[in-house]
Structures are given as structure tokens and as C-alpha cells.
């Protein structure tokens, strides 16, 4: 498509692919950025689509399980479940009906959203441009809103489990006295607040950064001549199969670890 491109064409192309399909809530129009009062429709739609896919598939399998010899689909789902439960069981000491389903949700949902990265970069934007959609970014996890939307819940749960496991007094004592002893309590509190607040930020920025970079590289690969694309594009796509799975796993694993740390005393 783009056999030879000038620098300005290339930068327009990249810019184009890095713009969201947005909806201005204040004016009700599909263009124009209204700061906070904007919805990234592309991220929302793909994230919802992935969520529906996940809920539909897993919900359907869960509704049709049988204890006897399982089918191949049920077997696969059960393997994922047992895998997640094992990870949770190893890290999280204590009983929780929430952690394991939360981890499973994160793993599968994030994986499905990351998977959009393997669609050709121009596929959805070009297809939707036929329907008048000017910009479309197909990878929701390359949108920090989406990743923060998950990691903030992790932060809320982190605070909740801290209080639940230690109580107000226990948590207060821990914040004041660890790790440097009671005489350095201002430092302890500052360290602790920093530590806990950094967790959701690093969690979401890690996923966002990886996916954004991956997407960007795919966009840049799309700029090289078509007869070279399959070499770099192929290598990067194969590498990305690993990355998307790994990032989904890391997000899940760190969620489990953070919540386990909240549960255990420091």
C-alpha cells in the first residue's frame, strides 16, 4: 500500500493510527477532544467485545459442565482454571472467593484485548473508515484508560485486604513502624504510601507500555515496502504472541502477589 513514503506522510500515518475514535460527551459529537469528558469509543467497544466473548464462552462452558469425562473445550477451560487456582493458592494465604475469579478474569480478558494486537494494523481502521469512522485503535490495552481501569480496582482491593487482614490498628502500627522502626515513623509512612500507590501505576503502565510499543512497531512495520513486511512483520508478530500472553500473565500474577502482600504482614 505504502511503497515509498515521505517523512511527512509517514508521520501523518503514524499520527492517524495513534488517534482514538472519540465521543465528546459535552457536545455529543464524534470528534473533538473535550478533555476528561471524552470517551474513547474504540477502546470501550473492543474491551466490551472481549468481555462479552470471555463471559459468553466461559459462562457457556460453566453452564454445561459435567463431572464425568470432560469434552475438549471443557478440558481446556479447566486447565486454565486449575493453572490460575494453583498460582493463587501458592501466593495467597487465607480464604477469598474473590482473588481467583479476579485473577482468571484479568488473565483471559487482558489476553483477549492484547490479542487484537495481532490483527493487521490497518484492518479495523480501514474497514471502519468505510462507515465514516475517522480513527480507530484496535488494541484497548494500548489505552491507559483501560489498563488503569483494571489496576485501580486492584488498588482498591489492596487497601481493602490490608484493612481486612490487619484491622485499623494493625495496619496503622505496620505503616508507622515498618521497615525502619518506630523512631523513623514519618519515613515509614511515606515509604509505605509511595510503595502502595506505585503498585497500580506500575501495573497499568507496564501493560500499557508494552502494548503501545508493540502497536507502534506494527505501525512502523506497515510503513516499510510491502515485499519486506513479511520478514520483520512475521518476526514481530510471532514474538508478540509471546508478549501478549506474557503481559496478561504478568498482570494477573502481580495482582495476586500484591493482594497476597496486603493480606500478609510485612
Amino acid at each position: 500500500m505504502l511503497n515509498f513514503v515521505s517523512i511527512s506522510d509517514a508521520s501523518t500515518y503514524v499520527q492517524h493510527h495513534l488517534s482514538h475514535w472519540q465521543w465528546n460527551v459535552k457536545t455529543g459529537q464524534f470528534n473533538g477532544d473535550a478533555g476528561f469528558w471524552t470517551v474513547n469509543l474504540d477502546s470501550m467497544i473492543i474491551a466490551l467485545f472481549a468481555a462479552m466473548l470471555y463471559m459468553g464462552f466461559f459462562g457457556w462452558v460453566a453452564a454445561h459442565v459435567k463431572a464425568g469425562v470432560p469434552g475438549k473445550v471443557q478440558n481446556g477451560i479447566e486447565m486454565i482454571l486449575v493453572f490460575v487456582q494453583k498460582l493463587v493458592g501458592e501466593s495467597f494465604h487465607g480464604k477469598s472467593k474473590l482473588i481467583a475469579p479476579l485473577a482468571l478474569t484479568i488473565f483471559i480478558w487482558v489476553f483477549l484485548m492484547n490479542l487484537m494486537d495481532l490483527l493487521p494494523v490497518d484492518f479495523l481502521p480501514e474497514a471502519l473508515s468505510l462507515f465514516g469512522v475517522a480513527h480507530f485503535r484496535s488494541v484497548p490495552t494500548a489505552d491507559p484508560n483501560i489498563t488503569f481501569g483494571m489496576s485501580l480496582w486492584v488498588f482498591v482491593l489492596l487497601v481493602y485486604y490490608n484493612f481486612k487482614a490487619k484491622g485499623c490498628c494493625g495496619l496503622g502500627r505496620e505503616m508507622l513502624t515498618k521497615p525502619f522502626g518506630k523512631w523513623l515513623f514519618p519515613l515509614n509512612v511515606a515509604f509505605r504510601l509511595l510503595e502502595d500507590c506505585v503498585k497500580p501505576v506500575s501495573l497499568s503502565l507496564r501493560l500499557f507500555g508494552n502494548m503501545f510499543a508493540g502497536e507502534l512497531i506494527f505501525i512502523l512495520i506497515a510503513l516499510v515496502p510491502w515485499y519486506v513486511q513479511w520478514t520483520v512483520g512475521g518476526v514481530w508478530a510471532i514474538f508478540h504472541i509471546l508478549i501478549i500472553t506474557l503481559q496478561a500473565f504478568i498482570f494477573m500474577m502481580l495482582t495476586i502477589v500484591y493482594l497476597s502482600m496486603a493480606q500478609d504482614t510485612h
Binding site: 478533555g35 459462562g59 459442565v65 463431572a67 482454571l81 481467583a100 475469579p101 482468571l104 481501569g149 480496582w153
Partner: protein, 157 residues
């Protein structure tokens, strides 16, 4: 990178998806896995029990077989003994029967020989009388000389 309402949307979506998983995905699948665990462990217990049962059954069968063999052996020995006895009895019977037949035959022979002697005596007496008549040229009364004839014949025979 700008934060906007999408964040709120994602917060809501995430909560719903996690709730859905907690409510409709995780518990039924886990309950099912536990049910299968139970099924399999029961199956294993039953299989172990079956193996024990089989061993016992084999032992029982072996015992029964051994008993049957012993009984068969005993029966065989009894039969052999019995057959020996029967053969012995048969031999004795046969001997007795042979003896009887022999004595019958001897009696018969004695009787026949007696009859032959008697007949011979009569014939000889007749011949002697006939011969004497020829020699003497006159009739001899056989009845009158019977005593004499019998003496001669008895001496000769």
C-alpha cells in the same frame, strides 16, 4: 496518553466482568472439578477393592480346586480299592463256578461211563450167549446163566 471517561467505563465493565466470573464462571467449574475429583477417588477406591476381591476370589477358587482335586484323588483311590476287591471277588466266584462246572462235568462223565458200561455189558452178554450157542450147538438160556455171565463180564471189564 490522556485520562478521560473511558476510565470510568472500564472501571464499571471490569467490576461487572469480575462479578460475572465470581458468580457464574468460577464456582460451577470448580464445583464440577471437585465433583470429578470425588468421582475419580471413589473409582480408585472401588478399583482397589475390586483387586482385593479378585485376589480373594482367586484364592477361594484355588482352595476349591485343591479340595476338588483331593476329593477326586480320594475317590480314585477308593475306586481302585473297590475294583481290586471286585476283581478278587470275581476271581473267587469264577473259581467256584469253574469248580462247580468241573464237578458237574465229572458227574456227567461218570454217569455216561456208567451208562456205557451198562450198555456194553448187555451187548457183551448177548454176544457171549450168541457165541456160546454157536459153539455148543444148542440154545442157552441167557436168563438162567445170567449170574455166570455177569461174573465173567465184570471180571473182563
Amino acid at each position: 496518553m490522556e485520562i478521560n471517561l473511558t476510565l470510568i467505563g472500564q472501571l464499571i465493565t471490569f467490576a461487572i466482568v469480575v462479578w460475572f466470573t465470581m458468580r457464574y464462571v468460577w464456582p460451577p467449574l470448580m464445583a464440577n472439578l471437585e465433583a470429578r475429583q470425588l468421582l475419580i477417588s471413589n473409582g480408585l477406591v472401588q478399583a482397589a477393592q475390586a483387586a482385593v476381591d479378585l485376589e480373594q476370589a482367586q484364592l477361594l477358587a484355588k482352595t476349591l480346586l485343591d479340595e476338588a482335586k483331593t476329593q477326586a484323588q480320594v475317590l480314585l483311590e477308593q475306586t481302585q480299592k473297590r475294583s481290586l476287591v471286585l476283581i478278587e471277588e470275581a476271581r473267587v466266584d469264577a473259581q467256584a463256578e469253574g469248580q462247580r462246572v468241573l464237578s458237574l462235568a465229572k458227574n456227567e462223565i461218570a454217569r455216561e461211563s456208567l451208562a456205557a458200561k451198562e450198555s456194553l455189558r448187555h451187548q457183551v452178554a448177548s454176544m457171549v450167549v450168541a457165541g456160546a450157542t454157536k459153539i455148543l450147538g444148542k440154545e442157552i438160556n441167557q436168563a438162567a446163566n445170567q449170574q455166570l455171565l455177569d461174573d465173567v463180564i465184570n471180571q473182563q471189564l
